[in-house]
Each structure stands twice: as structure tokens, then as C-alpha cells.
């Protein structure tokens, strides 16, 4: 099997960069109006790649497709059928909604977009340095745009300077992609690492199981296949997935007032206590500091930036009772920072653990190893800033909506995003808890036999835990869809001018 270098010019830039300096961004959802015009636009679209440029560009455009979008631009059904089932059936499939917690007020039937006829075909994402967005969008659209597409909606974003709407520093912990393909996953991973196999974030490369995630491969002599790269695991085939990945988007409305008013009420109006409770719900302080001490041992993929080390060089191994960071805190749910074996056993101890005779503590070994469930977050906030201290005031009439256009990238939607959302976010039984979902983003829907799901527990070592009950639902899903953000060769294959 030939291991090749990553062809950065084939990868859309968003996989490698967060475009943090391009503080303005806007996303547009499109329906294809005219297939030929749409293809023509796509062929010529100046889509930013993952190549590092000097000087850094001040603008970038990215293009993603839903399954309906691929169909609309004429991708053959047999090719489409080889994309993942989650992508093809979409985020709003009924049984999937149940697993994702998209029920009650989160139900797709209540969404502003992404359900029924409001499913987009394409999403074009524009990023620009301050002041340049509008002009960049105009020039990028060009002449063919209006003939090609019907604009369904524009999703604007806001730059809150690295802070999400509730007021917490966001985006601190991101997996580091193993672009150099140095990672060896063939042995059990005993230490937490932040470096994740390239194949978890890009199709066409080995993942954390050292396997290639399913994606469409076509015969080399298929029409239009000339520009595609060969599949590493099947060199006689061309790889349509290569250098592309899935993009999950969810519009999450955040009720900032409800959050701080609730926290403040629980704290009896004491703002220091309110901040503490807020930090417990999130699992980090507002400034982004973790609630457990930093460890001395370096973690691969974290650093060398001292600020990053300070905020990310930790695991929860030293906090087995949850006394520092509650088990159910948002960040501890979303990334429990665990390994393949709890307590890093070696030799005979490992065998003993494998056979189930390891530690017998109540919470030992309850969670799946996190390395199979990492996502790369690329979301942006929307709506005007509302500082926590101002959030205590009652909402004025027509209080604008604020929230997050959550975006994440992953090669296997069911094992990465959906697993995180289901087993670790919505699950009221996470980590030996009961009666509580994610305190920040969970819904509070009752489940059969378990009517109460709106608790939040702060464990104590040597005392009775503090349990807050009656948590309101702070986050409501307003829309969502699964997209493919293809490699640029694949994009040109999709947009081929009718030679198929």
C-alpha cells in the first residue's frame, strides 16, 4: 500500500485552517436552478485550498454539498450510493432525530431550515478579513451565479472575539490532525494524545482503526475520472472521497438570558458563585481555564504555545471523583480525554483488565476510548453580543436571536459526530450519571421510565454532591444538515461539463 503525501492543493482550506484572522464570514444555502450553469460556476469557482500561502490570503471561499445537492448537479446514483448512509439519508431522518435528541422543541419539524423542502443543495462559505466580505462575495459569485442558483438563505456570523454567546472562551481544544502520517495506531493507546489519524478527518486515508473509511471508488476508465487520484487501498480505482470529508452543520440558538438568569438564581444573586456554577456546567472558566490541574507530562499534539499548554495539558485521570470538574460538565462529556485502557496497564495487568478483572470502581471503564470520537470544530457565532452581566435584565421586545452555527468536520458521521451527540451529549446515563444530559447543550426531554433529565450534579470528595435541578433548555436546534466538503479534484469531477 502506497503512502503518499497529502496533496494540500486538493483539500479545501477549512480542513486545515479555521481562518481565524478572517473575522467576517457568511454562509449561503443554495438550490440548483440550472444544472449546466451550476456546474459551470463550480468549475470556475475560486475555492481556497489547504496550501499555506505567503502572504496569507485575506479571503477564502469553500463549497459543500448535501446528498440532494450531489444529485442535483447530476452525480450518478451509483456514486452517490457509496457515500455514507448518514450523509445520504440526512440529519432529519426520523430514527436519527431520536438518537440526536432532535425531539420536542428541537424536532426538525420546528426548524427554520434543513427539513423537507428547506434542505439546501449546496452551501457556499465566504470568509474575509474585516471590511472585505461584501466585495469578496460579489466578485466570487460572478456572472453565472444568478442563473445557476436560487439563494435559500444567508446565515450571517458574528465575531465575538473567540468567545461563544454564553460568554465562555471557545474553541480551545481541537484535535491535531496527523498531516505527516506519522501516527501509529496499531497498538493499544495507553496515553492520551491530541494527535488524531488523518483518516478521521479526511476520506482516503487510514483512520484510528488503521482502515480506510468507506467512500465511492470508481473504475479508472469511468467518464470524467481522469482528474481523480487513485485510491490508496485499491490502486486500480479512482477515489472520489479522497481529500474530502463530511461537514455537519447545526444552527444552535442559545438563550443567553435564560442561562445567566438561571445560574444567578441558583447562586442566590452572588456573582462569584454564579461564575463558579457557570464554570461547572461548562467545565472551564469563562477565560477558558480547565477546572482540573495541568499535568506535567506533555501531551502529544498540545503546545508548544504556553497558553495552549496551560489550557489543554490535562486529563481527568487525576480527578476520578469528579470533585474538580463534574463528570457531567460539557467539556468532560465532549472530550473525556481517556485512553484505550483506564489506568494504563501493561503486561499482565493489561491482560487482567482485558478479561474484566481490572479495577472494580463504580465508574471504571465506562466510556469508549475518545480517539474514535473526535471532531474538528469550525463553527462561528451569530447574533449580537450580550455580556453575562447584561443578560440578567429581562429580554426587550424583539430580542435578537443569538447562537452558534455549529460546524464540525469528520470522516465518519455516525462514529464521530453522532456518537458524541448521542452517547455523550444527549445520554442521561453518561459516565454512571442518571437524570441529566449535557447541562449546556442537552435537551431536557423525558425518556420512558426516567422522567427527570434536567439535573446537574457537582460531585464532592467526602461529602454529598450538590445537585441542581430544573435546568432549563438553554440551546435549541434551529436547523441542520449533513454536507460533503469534497476534495477539489472530486468537485471538478462532480462539475464535469457533461462528459459523463
Amino acid at each position: 500500500m502506497k503512502q503518499s503525501e497529502v496533496e494540500y492543493r486538493d483539500v479545501q482550506g477549512l480542513v486545515r485552517f479555521g481562518y481565524a484572522k478572517m473575522k467576517e464570514a457568511s454562509y449561503v444555502h443554495l438550490r440548483v436552478k440550472d444544472v449546466a450553469a451550476a456546474r459551470a460556476w463550480l468549475r470556475n469557482a475560486p475555492i481556497a485550498s489547504a496550501v499555506v500561502m505567503t502572504p496569507a490570503p485575506s479571503t477564502a471561499m469553500q463549497v459543500a454539498f448535501t446528498a440532494a445537492g450531489l444529485e442535483a448537479v447530476g452525480v450518478p446514483p451509483l456514486v452517490l450510493a457509496r457515500f455514507s448512509q448518514e450523509f445520504r439519508t440526512g440529519m432529519t431522518e426520523e430514527n436519527r432525530s431520536r438518537r440526536l435528541g432532535d425531539v420536542g422543541s428541537n424536532a426538525p419539524s420546528q426548524w427554520e431550515w434543513g427539513y423537507g423542502t428547506s434542505v439546501p443543495h449546496l452551501m457556499v462559505m465566504f470568509f474575509a478579513e474585516p471590511g472585505r466580505l461584501h466585495a469578496f462575495m460579489q466578485t466570487s459569485k460572478g456572472n453565472a451565479w444568478n442563473a445557476a442558483f436560487e439563494e435559500q438563505r444567508w446565515l450571517g456570523t458574528a465575531d465575538l472575539d473567540g468567545v461563544e454567546p454564553f460568554g465562555f472562551t471557545d474553541g480551545i481544544s481541537q484535535p491535531q490532525i496527523d498531516w505527516e502520517r506519522q501516527r501509529n495506531v496499531t497498538r493499544p493507546q495507553l496515553d492520551y494524545t491530541n494527535v488524531v489519524a488523518l483518516g478521521e478527518f479526511l476520506l482516503g486515508y487510514p483512520n484510528e482503526y488503521d482502515k480506510y473509511t468507506d467512500r465511492p471508488l470508481i473504475d479508472a476508465d469511468s467518464a470524467g475520472a481522469g482528474g481523480l487520484l487513485a485510491a490508496e487501498d485499491a490502486p486500480e480505482k479512482k477515489d472520489i472521497g479522497r481529500n474530502g470529508t463530511y461537514l455537519v452543520m447545526r444552527q444552535l440558538r442559545q438563550d443567553v438570558r435564560s442561562f445567566w438568569q438561571f445560574v444567578n438564581r441558583q447562586a442566590g444573586g452572588n456573582s462569584v458563585e454564579a461564575d463558579k456554577l457557570g464554570a461547572a456546567l461548562v467545565g472551564r472558566t469563562r477565560a477558558g481555564d480547565p477546572l482540573v490541574p495541568m499535568q506535567e507530562q506533555a501531551i502529544p499534539g498540545i503546545g508548544p504555545d504556553p497558553e495552549e499548554i496551560r489550557q489543554n495539558q490535562f486529563t481527568f485521570a487525576k480527578d476520578p471523583m469528579g470533585a474538580g470538574c463534574p463528570f457531567g460538565a460539557h467539556v468532560r462529556r465532549e472530550n473525556p480525554r481517556n485512553t484505550d485502557f483506564p489506568g494504563r496497564p501493561t503486561g499482565l495487568a493489561k491482560l487482567i483488565t482485558m478479561l474484566g478483572f481490572g479495577p472494580r470502581g463504580f465508574r471504571d471503564d465506562l466510556m469508549s476510548a475518545v480517539r474514535f470520537h473526535r471532531i474538528l470544530r469550525r463553527g462561528r457565532e451569530y447574533g449580537p453580543e450580550l455580556l453575562p452581566e447584561n443578560a440578567l435584565a429581562p429580554a426587550p421586545p424583539n430580542d435578537p436571536e443569538r447562537g452558534l452555527h455549529f460546524i464540525c468536520l469528520n470522516a465518519n458521521i455516525s462514529r464521530q459526530f453522532e456518537f458524541l451527540q448521542n452517547a455523550w451529549t444527549v445520554n442521561t446515563k453518561f459516565s454512571g450519571l442518571t437524570g441529566e444530559g449535557d447541562p449546556l447543550i442537552g435537551n431536557r426531554e423525558a425518556i420512558p421510565g426516567c422522567l427527570i433529565t434536567d439535573n446537574f450534579t457537582m460531585q464532592k470528595d467526602g461529602g454529598v454532591r450538590r445537585r441542581v435541578s430544573g435546568l432549563p433548555q438553554f440551546v435549541t436546534v434551529r436547523g441542520g444538515a449533513y454536507f460533503l466538503i469534497p476534495g477539489l479534484r472530486a468537485l471538478r469531477y462532480f462539475a464535469g461539463d457533461g462528459d459523463r
Binding site: K211, R360, F362, S368, G449, G463
Partner: protein, 433 residues
């Protein structure tokens, strides 16, 4: 200790009555995947010793897979399976079941070939019994009654703690414990809580279990001289087979996938039924039997209660071989989604999974029986989904409770009733609350 028992009735469906049977089974549900526990046919909720039950039509769509071995496709009867996991004596349960739901059972089983309406139901069910070759019980001796009593205890403690939060803040663990012991004792005296003592272990069961404990290793020792000769040959042959056996792992079609998914995630736990044809030949047959007997022995005598290896989310599970051991079915009751269940197996118990399931036609290629196989995650998941059958009716006696919940409640009760916890144990006990 009241040991658990299980039953499985297996009967061929009368082809002319399949539609009627399906309608009857559907009538036991209030919605897809959600049984009506007081349905007119078999009101499961009436049976306070029944943990799990299911009706499933064993409609294996992968029968043609045998073609890869050049074997003609056999047609088997379409079976109905009715199975349950219970506390205590099986005969007593079946008598009770027939007494209260005889009519319902008769209408269901009258859709099976050769069933006469006036037949003796208990005898008929026993005659159609399909015993498990390997069986797993999460916690032997934990009865439905105990589970419910301990859940009520946990709920009462939760309410007490919420209303006495301030009084209990800042006091040492031992005092918290004695405070709660007083509360529970008062609740018990007032008749608001019941924590029944364990019943004595039936002597007959105890003897049988002891004989099994000694008997299987004894048999192993007796046959050892023979095994020493056979096993290496078996292994060499197996090694050759596993290098050439075909992998049949592809994604299931949308309809099959939807049919399964619509029944899943209606509770914190799920049912699982998977069926396959065994790879042909003597080597595979005896490898499978040897491994399943080993699994059964381990599950019965060796594994730590509450765990199957590293997996702590399975309530009950069993393997049953059918049709002259040419086919096998795996049934389980587990917590979480099927996706997390499969992940758990791959990452925590891959070796055991491979050893058992590699006997199924089309399983992802193993290496020395226990390696690789399911480590090819997607192939394994595709394989498993392809072999998963929709379970028409599924009953769980304690909705909303996971095996970990049961474990927590058990530990809470045990601590309350213990008089000898160390300082550290008391701290850990308080942390359970």
C-alpha cells in the same frame, strides 16, 4: 440467592398464518419498538419475576451466503422464537404464564405448524424449547423485585438528600451514612420502603451449579490426551480456512436499516437479535462448540459480576444453535445505541467477539481466530447489521434503568446495610449518591 433461569420456545410458523402472526405480534405493541406491557395477549407487567422477554420471527435473509462454499441453499422453516429471562424456577413461571395468558399464547402459537388449540401449553412449550449453548446474566441473584426495591430506595434517598441538602453539607461521610441509615430504617418501619432479604439458594440449583463448576474442567481433563492430538490439527486447518474464507460484509439496504432503527432507542436499553449460518465443516463446528462452552463456563463461574470482560452494559445475553447446529442466533439486551454497543465490542472485547462470531459465514477475516476480524470496524458493523433481525416484541421490566443504574443502586443498598465499611469505602459510597 434466587438464581435466574431462561426459556426459549422455537416453533416453525405455519406459512399460511404468517401474516396473522405478524399482526398479532404487532398488536402487543403500542408503537413500533414499544410494547404495551398490559396488552391483551400477554400482559408482561403481570409477571413480577420476568426481566426481559421477546417474540422474534427468525427470518434470516442471508441464507444464500452458503453459495460461497458451493453448498446448495437450504430452505429452513421460518421460526417464531419466544424467549425470556426470569427469576427462580422455570416450571413455576411457565405454569403461571400459561394460567394467566394461556389464551393469548394459544392465539400466537396457533400460527405455528402443528399446534393444536387444546394442547397442553406448558408441555408444548417445553417440547419446543431451544436451550442456549451459552448464556450470560449480568448479576446472578439480582431479582426483578430486588431491582425495583433498590430503585425505590435510590429515589427515596434522592428526595431526602434534596430536601436535607443544607443539613448534610460539611459533615463527614460516616455521619452522612448513619443519618441516611436512620432515614431508611424509619421509612422501612413506616412501610414506605421495602428491602427484602435474599431468599435461600435452592439446594437443587446449588448442586447442579457445583457439578457444572467441576464437571466441565473434569471433562476437559479427561479428554485432554485426545485434545492434545486434535487441537493442533484443528488449529492448522483453521488457520488455512481463515485465510481463504470469504468476507461478506456490505452495507444493508435502506429498508432493512430503517426496519431495525425504527425499533431501537425507545428506551435507554435495546434488544439485539442476530442470526447467521455457520461456516461448513467439522473444524468450524467444533471450534464454535468449544468456544461457546468455554464462554458459557466463564460467564457462569469466572467473570466478575456485572461485567462481560470489560463490557458493563449487557443485562442478559445468549447464544442458541439451531437446525442441527448449522445456524446460530445471538440475543442480547444492552444499554445505549447499537453504534455504541458495536464500538464497545470492537474496542473492549474484540478477541472474544472474533472467537465466537468468526464461525459465521462472511465474518471479517480473523487472524489466529481472535485477532483482526472486528478490528475492521466498518466491515464488522456492516456484517453485523446485515445479520440483525427486527425483534417484533420486546419487554423490559425496568424501563429507564441501565445495568449501571442497577449496579449503583445495588452498591447504595449494600453500603447502607453494611456495618464494616472503611473510611475510604464510606467516601466512595457517599459519592454514589
Amino acid at each position: 440467592m434466587t438464581p435466574q433461569a431462561n426459556f426459549m420456545v422455537l416453533a416453525a410458523i405455519d406459512p399460511t398464518r404468517e401474516t396473522k402472526l405478524r399482526a398479532l405480534l404487532a398488536s402487543m405493541n403500542e408503537a413500533p419498538g414499544r410494547v404495551n406491557t398490559t396488552n391483551a395477549l400477554i400482559p408482561f407487567a403481570q409477571f413480577d419475576t420476568l426481566h426481559f422477554a421477546r417474540f422474534v420471527i427468525l427470518d434470516d435473509k442471508t441464507l444464500e451466503d452458503v453459495r460461497v462454499y458451493g453448498i446448495p441453499v437450504r430452505t429452513y422453516p421460518l421460526y417464531l422464537a419466544f424467549l425470556g429471562d426470569i427469576d427462580g424456577d422455570l416450571n413455576a413461571f411457565l405454569e403461571k404464564l400459561v394460567k394467566s395468558s394461556g389464551k393469548g399464547l394459544r392465539s400466537v402459537f396457533s400460527c405455528c405448524a402443528g399446534f393444536r388449540y387444546d394442547t397442553d401449553l406448558v408441555r408444548w412449550m417445553k417440547r419446543h424449547g431451544a436451550p442456549a449453548i451459552a448464556n450470560y446474566v449480568n448479576w446472578r441473584g439480582r431479582t426483578v423485585r430486588r431491582i425495583r426495591e433498590e430503585a425505590a430506595l435510590a429515589k427515596a434517598l434522592e428526595e431526602y438528600l434534596q430536601s436535607h441538602a443544607t443539613a448534610l453539607t460539611g459533615i463527614p461521610p460516616r455521619e452522612i451514612l448513619s443519618n441516611l441509615q436512620q432515614f431508611v430504617n424509619a421509612e422501612k418501619s413506616a412501610g414506605r420502603l421495602t428491602l427484602s432479604d435474599e431468599s435461600p439458594t435452592p439446594i437443587g440449583w446449588w448442586i447442579k451449579n457445583a457439578l457444572h463448576l467441576i464437571g466441565v474442567p473434569l471433562l476437559f481433563l479427561l479428554t485432554l490426551p485426545l485434545l492434545i492430538v486434535i487441537v493442533p490439527i484443528l488449529l492448522i486447518r483453521l488457520r488455512r480456512l481463515e485465510k481463504t474464507d470469504a468476507e461478506l460484509c456490505w452495507r444493508v439496504d435502506q429498508a432493512h436499516s430503517d426496519a431495525l432503527a425504527s425499533l431501537e432507542d425507545r428506551d435507554v436499553a435495546n434488544q439485539f437479535t442476530a442470526m447467521a449460518t455457520r461456516k461448513p465443516g467439522f473444524v468450524r463446528l467444533w471450534t464454535l462448540i468449544g468456544i461457546l462452552v468455554g464462554v458459557d463456563y466463564a460467564a457462569r463461574h469466572l467473570v466478575r459480576s456485572g461485567r462481560l470482560g470489560r463490557i458493563r452494559t449487557i443485562h442478559f445475553a445468549r447464544w442458541v444453535l439451531l437446525d442441527g447446529r448449522k445456524r446460530g442466533v445471538f440475543f442480547s439486551n444492552y444499554d445505549g445505541t447499537v453504534e455504541s454497543y458495536m464500538d464497545d465490542f470492537i474496542n473492549k472485547a474484540g478477541f472474544g467477539l472474533n472467537a465466537v462470531f468468526s464461525s459465521a459465514i462472511g465474518y471479517p477475516r480473523t487472524n489466529w481466530l481472535v485477532r483482526d476480524g472486528c478490528a475492521d470496524e466498518q466491515k464488522y458493523k456492516d456484517f453485523l447489521r446485515r445479520h440483525t433481525l427486527p425483534t417484533q416484541v420486546w419487554y423490559k421490566a425496568y424501563p429507564g434503568l441501565t445495568a449501571i443504574d442497577l449496579e449503583r443502586n445495588r452498591r447504595i443498598r449494600e453500603g447502607l446495610e453494611s456495618s464494616s465499611m472503611s473510611e475510604q469505602e464510606t467516601r466512595e459510597w457517599v459519592a454514589l449518591l
